[in-house]
């Protein structure tokens, strides 16, 4: 009961003190707001880049051409063997009949040429389109498929895919690194701002100690105050993220430059980003206050 009473008072006092020291609070809040805005932008960018990279990687397909003289029975065998390879996510069979039809439908030129072919001398081969779970394994899997009996050629954009993977890997690492670095810088900046505002309240802490407040008694209201500052500072970034991203998404029609580069759907993405911003704001605010008060308690 007593502990709850003290906690309740601490929360009330910290709330009061945000408003009683309004100009100083405003300094901390604006600092949090600005840094969180930058963090929000970098999170949105980095998640989108990551998402795009993942989508592209998922799209990479191993095209497996089968021998021209392959029988139904042998196709079944190849399918079984592909199915048995570890790391294969999915595969799809396209018979030469399907492919010819598709090609003839797509252009009249093809149609004219292909109509002259009969079943035997058609150069079109039955194919399997294989997708892999992890793009790093694509080379290995392609080699395994190549060794299967009655498989003639395996193609997946050798060379280019490996480069793409390397580039995406670097981009992903850089973007994640940047977000982490930014969060750390934010923590440092905010905690320093709060430190300055608390420095001006050294006297308050001194009096608290004098009348018999334990160190915990003194720390808790300041930590709550930091939490409130963080929350207040997160308001504008959250609003900006929520409305800004939706506006951005709509104005680009969900894609940047080409249908190839897709933006992440706003929902639930914006809520996730907002949640992250609020949590960062609160944690950093609390941490900043804690660090600042501790100095004045001579621990």
């Amino acid at each position: 009961m007593k502990a709850f009473r003290i906690l309740g008072r601490n929360i009330r006092d910290s709330f009061k003190s945000v408003f009683r020291n309004f100009s100083l609070s405003l300094a901390s809040i604006s600092c949090i707001t600005i840094t969180l805005l930058v963090v929000a932008i970098s999170i949105i960018l980095s998640v989108n880049v990551n998402n795009f990279a993942t989508l592209v990687e998922k799209d990479v397909t191993i095209v497996t051409f089968l021998d021209l003289d392959i029988t139904e029975e042998e196709i079944k065998n190849v399918e079984q063997e592909i199915n048995d390879i570890q790391g294969v996510e999915s595969y799809e069979f396209q018979s030469k009949v399907d492919i010819s039809k598709e090609m003839m439908d797509s252009s009249d030129v093809f149609k004219n040429i292909m109509e002259q072919w009969n079943q035997e001398d058609s150069p079109i081969q039955d194919t399997f389109l294989v997708k892999v779970e992890n793009i790093d394994d694509i080379g290995k899997i392609a080699k395994k498929i190549e060794k299967i009996d009655k498989v003639s050629i395996v193609k997946y954009g050798q060379g280019m895919v490996e480069q793409l993977v390397t580039i995406f890997d670097v981009v992903k690492k850089i973007s994640i690194g940047m977000v982490i670095a930014l969060i750390l810088v934010t923590a440092f900046l905010i905690s320093n701002t709060i430190k300055i505002t608390i420095f001006s309240r050294k006297r308050e802490i001194e009096i608290m100690r004098l009348v018999g407040a334990s160190n915990l008694n003194i720390k808790i209201p300041f930590i709550f105050e930091g939490l409130f500052l963080g929350l207040l500072g997160a308001i504008i970034p959250v609003i900006a993220t929520t409305y800004g991203y939706v506006a951005l998404y709509n104005s680009f029609d969900g894609q940047v430059f080409s249908p190839f580069i897709k933006l992440i759907e706003p929902e639930p993405f914006i809520y996730q980003v907002s949640g992250v911003l609020i949590v960062i704001g609160m944690l950093v605010g609390m941490f900043g206050s804690y660090r600042a008060v501790r100095k004045h308690l001579k621990i």
């Binding site: 009473r5 008072r9 308050e204 001194e206 018999g212 407040a213 621990i299």
Partner: protein, 231 residues
């Protein structure tokens, strides 16, 4: 046992200055003691050690059963809850009302709201400031502010009240008003130890007087025997 017991207390600051040399002092419960002496004689250091703002370099200090010399930093609050301190510069929270300033002490201890209210009003009545409970410190005169500080110091009913030049910023009439408040508090059973420059007050009050010089007690006048003749 005496309320305050100091044995062979020595205080040397980090810069090498020795403020107190081998000091022994006993103060009984319910006493009213003045500590006087010229500037730099160590009187502030002496009382700062009593509420553990400073730590003695060697020797033992016992205040109300607490071994102050060995008290850990994070346990200091236990001592502070047993005593009240009043300063020359009042040390009030400027952004809190008179009531809040006094109630602050009790809130820290986690007392229920109605109990806090009753105690604060009672103590404000004792120092004669009940009608100013809702004012802010800046709206009060120096004497009134000091009375708020005294109210804050005694609201918890401490055994000991330490006053560091409480009348240093006040004129003669206001000073005597403060002394009357302190006298009343002393009569209720609180031990008071007060550091002052003002020999006029000491003359009038006729209490035990401890004269310090260069970190040593040079004279301990029993109650009523001190008479300042002027230097």
């Amino acid at each position: 046992m005496n309320l305050i017991q100091m044995r062979h207390v020595k205080k040397q600051y980090k810069n090498g200055v020795t403020a107190i040399y081998d000091l022994d002092l006993d103060i009984e419960k319910g006493d009213f003691v003045f500590v006087i002496g010229s500037t730099g004689c160590g009187k502030s250091t002496l009382i700062k050690m009593l509420y553990r703002e400073e730590r003695p370099t060697s020797g033992s200090i016992n205040v109300g059963g607490i071994d102050v010399a060995k008290l850990k930093n994070r346990k200091v609050y236990k001592l502070r809850r047993k005593l009240g301190v009043v300063f020359q510069d009042f040390k009030l929270l400027p952004k809190s009302t008179v009531f809040e300033n006094v109630a602050f002490t009790l809130e820290v201890y986690g007392l229920p709201k109605d109990e806090i209210y009753n105690k604060v009003i009672k103590v404000l009545d004792l120092v004669g400031l009940k009608h100013k409970a809702k004012n802010y410190p800046t709206e009060l005169s120096g004497g009134e502010q000091q009375r708020v500080a005294i109210a804050r110091a005694i609201v918890n009913g401490p055994k000991l009240l330490i006053c560091d030049e409480p009348t240093g910023n006040l004129d003669e009439i206001t000073s005597m008003e403060i002394m009357e408040v302190l006298e009343a508090i002393n009569k209720l059973g609180t031990t008071i130890i007060m550091v002052t420059h003002d020999t006029e007050i000491v003359n009038r009050m006729k209490k035990r007087v401890i004269l310090l010089n260069a970190g040593r007690i040079v004279k301990d006048y029993k109650k009523g025997t001190y008479k300042h003749e002027g230097v």
